[in-house]
Symmetry: C3
Subunit: 421 residues, 3 copies
């Protein structure tokens, strides 16, 4: 995954433009079935309108000696996203009104945008800014805001046995920031490849689009079919350090909320489950009250809670391959839990069935695994009255979900359980 | 408020009689619309009967030397309330059977009553009692229990936009005790004056009556209309020190219970919310199971939990002006929360509406107020699905109720929210 | 109770056979109405089949010198329960494959069974086992597994005013183990004698049968009538030390679950209430999902949590008379709470009724009992709206159940409460 992330890192993405197209084009090498959609600027989308397409070709500030003292070619973050074109001389004070830096993190370049308010500007380290002491500077931003352009997003559908869907959504609008959100993109790509190789109960839909406006455009084009979404996750910030953090969907106790909690519990590692909050990533749109989809947000340390967030320090060193791998494993386990979470009915509900003559009594050998196996069988038989699914059993029994799934399969094989949903 | 309290303090009130009439007469100087009701002794009221009217003119104990060793003229608390008339000589032991003092608080005169059991007696400090060592004493209580008398209570109605009511009830039967309950009376009077100057959604009804029998009489005369009471508070012990204490209504999660909890939380000061208990003040009657009105009880340190309770130490020094002022502010904020607690519907519920083009995005400037303002807007939009009122939002979002109200007004002004109740 | 327990201790019980018959025959001396049922081997019972009847006459291991080095006559626990007959010479290794001991408790004989898997074996202390160093041993087990035999259980019904039942169930299949479960048996016997002397609202049904197969057989023969069981308890491990432990029924908040919790709370002693778990004693069968009866399990320290469990140390010294007595008192209090747990309606629900003129106000004298009595009256009047039974009141008011019962009787006597169920 890290190799893919390294290829994507240098591209200057924004909410529209060539950067997103290049990114999706690379993803299609991994996911040939990925479809790329172009939505014309000016198209209404729910309460919003698709913005003009932004192209940035070059941008610099030169001092009186004609030296480039800020140069977009040196770092994608130097340009304020959606800067309008400009060329001319500015006094030091005028220039500084268009500069963004972080006095408390003087070595880092911040990431800033001005999508919906016309402006221009440069981002740079505070150290760098303090060297700009000339009286006048020449500024050039060679950009275009094209009202005839379009917004680009990618979508991949992996059909399953039923038409009910699991939605996996990642924002792909940030330029050279590795954790936010190339990490989410590459985990989603490898998850899709893994799922594509397996039988699937659910249909899986992956959406790669720009933050906010991307999910709004996508929702506006799927208003009639979002009812098929039974579970969903926004994937973001999955490559940095820190514990896994899950933010529940607006529903709070949706199946996906409970599945994530059970799978996180089974990691045995510290993690956090937080209640719904109408601030964050694209779950804000999926969980707006008109849609109220069961979509949560999975990350490691959340946005704004690590020092490298939205700075040049969110780079290729910050995202570690083993953290990506661990994240992919977790998301895969969540999908497996959703796939396997069925409700069973005990076909021999009067008294306990005699497990011994069916070879199920202490059939797996001694030790704690054996004891847990017995308890898994007993809990399943006891709770399979048609009102408890495997997640219910996992929560009540405090047993690992995969063990319960194996036990349910064994009991189904012995004719003692029957799946009813 | 303290000046009014000082005027009321010297009056010898009881559950009937001139003291209550004088008190209500003074209140009418502040609240000309206050109506005073007289209910004849012997009138049936629910399971009770209005008692005879008690008049106390004088009461004393003289020693053999003819000196007044206990003198009602010295302190209203010296007389056991509802003492029957008596005049004669009693042995020391006979006298002591009719004396009430507090051995553990030897300097304080206790407050005692015997409304429904015929008796006579004197209350005095334990130090004082121990000086009474003569063999015989002359006792005189010049009182009347008039079966042709009446019970007096006051009622003030401030009509609102709707006929649904907020009930505010204070007992006014205690003689010279400042915190219990002149504090409640004066806070209620100034609250009424404040509310009278404002537009009101609800109709406000203030009841000033004697404890227990007053609320029973009032309920017996309003059985058919108590259903209009949507919220209610018994106001008592609001002038002493100590944290605010709210006792929930029998319903436990009535709107008033939740409003008080949210407003108390916003004070940032230590406070206590206690569950319903069928013991206390007139909320016992309002919350009897046949009525089960949403009426809680608001006080500072509750009865029986401060040393001055029901003694001569509950005096004008014990009640401090700033504590009355703080209590008035709190009750006013509770009324405001009830007035403003509406349920809204988001008129743009599909995705987040674009706040920027409506001037609402970061429209209030930076800092935490700005951040809270943005969150208030987002929470309101997210939860306004017709099932959450502002208190629900305040609880879930942990944001101040007044901020949420201002944000709701702004969103309504922008055409994004519509009140539906 | 300890005397009865001492008579029962030497008998070698198993899930079938003479030991159970002898035990029930002794119980009939105490409970003449006890009926003993014989169910033929091979009879189908729910998912199970009644096993062959096991008779053990003698069992020994002799060394080369002809000395009995293991002798069933010395201790009932020496024989693996349901050992098949065997006679012959075995090498040391062959013998050791059929020996069971506890290396970590080297002085104790374990209790082991092999009901449903044909096997033979001996149980002995680990010290004892280590003395068996001869090369060959003669083994003899003189047992019978009779397919024409039967399973024996006892049942006692104490009819009550209504046909709804309280089920009390004890397993009686363990040989010389005092706490597990002669303690349960003797407590049940003395409880039945006590209940037989009293008027009873409920019908009480006592079942004394072998663990698992006994309750399965009983359920199979009462499928149509188990719906009459409104409350039930499995009684076990009631003679050892340790705090009382109650395991809730599968329903979790059944009336019996709440009654036990309230009664345990009133003991003032440390105790434990645990949630349902589909492992344990015969509650597993009663609470299987097809039946889902409100049956919990009451014990002192639970199985597997004390060192003497299922060893020769669970003997007559381990069970103490005062612990049996305390257990009997607790079970009796639980039955009394179930008997007295009625729902009342306040016949004077508008305002508080005037208790004084009915002699109920401070009618019981001062002190905490007096205060609690007043609060009991007020809580009952306040909550008796037809939706709260006495257990609800006990939980909310945190008052002792017997006090609330007495207060309810007093209020009923005064015409203020009426039982409605």
């Amino acid at each position: 995954m890290h190799a893919l992330l390294e290829r994507l890192f240098p591209i200057c993405r924004s909410i529209t433009g060539e950067g997103v197209r290049q990114t999706l084009s690379i993803l299609r090498e991994y996911l040939p079935a990925l479809r790329v959609h172009e939505v014309p600027s000016g198209t209404p989308a729910l309460d919003w309108t698709v913005p003009a397409e932004w192209t940035i070709r070059d941008a610099w500030v030169k001092n009186a000696a004609g030296e480039r003292v800020i140069d977009f070619q040196q770092h994608n973050l130097h340009i304020l996203q959606y800067s309008t074109p400009v060329h001319g001389w500015f006094s030091r004070q005028e220039l500084h009104d268009h500069l963004f830096s972080l006095p408390e993190q003087p070595e880092l370049i911040p990431y800033r945008t001005s999508y919906y308010q016309a402006n221009w500007g440069f981002c740079l380290s505070h150290q760098h800014r303090e060297t700009l002491q000339d009286d006048y500077y020449e500024v050039c931003i060679d950009s275009t805001l094209d009202e005839q352009g379009s917004l680009t997003y990618g979508e991949l559908v992996l059909p399953g046995a039923c038409e009910e869907e699991v939605l996996l959504s990642c924002h792909c609008c940030h330029p050279s920031l590795a954790n936010d959100n190339l990490s989410g993109l590459v985990v989603a790509v490898f998850l899709a490849r893994e799922l594509a190789r397996q039988p699937r109960r659910y249909t899986y839909r992956f959406v790669f689009g720009p933050g906010t406006i991307g999910s709004i455009v996508w929702l506006s084009r799927h208003r009639d079919t979002v009812g098929l979404i039974r579970h969903g996750l926004v994937l973001t910030l999955l490559g940095g350090p820190g514990r896994f953090t899950y933010k529940q969907s607006r529903r709070g106790a949706a199946e996906v909320d409970r599945a994530v909690a059970v799978v996180l519990r089974e990691t045995g590692a510290p993690h956090t489950v937080r209640p719904w909050l109408p601030y964050g990533y694209d779950e804000r749109q999926y969980c707006s009250p008109g849609f109220n989809l069961p979509v949560g947000c999975l990350s490691r340390t959340p946005f704004g809670e690590f020092a490298e967030y939205h700075t040049s320090a969110d780079n290729l060193e910050f995202v570690r391959p083993e953290q990506l791998t661990e994240s992919l494993g977790l998301v895969m386990n969540i999908c497996t839990a959703l796939e396997h979470n069925r409700t069973y009915r005990n076909l021999s509900p009067y008294g306990e069935p005699q497990l011994g003559r069916r070879g199920l009594y202490k059939g797996v050998g001694g030790g704690q695994e054996g004891a847990d196996w017995q308890m898994a069988l007993l809990w399943l038989l006891n709770l399979s009255d048609g009102t408890h699914n495997l997640l219910d059993v996992a929560e009540k029994a405090a047993l690992p979900f995969p063990l319960l799934h194996r036990a349910a399969v064994a009991l189904e094989g012995a004719g003692l359980l029957q799946p009813i949903s």
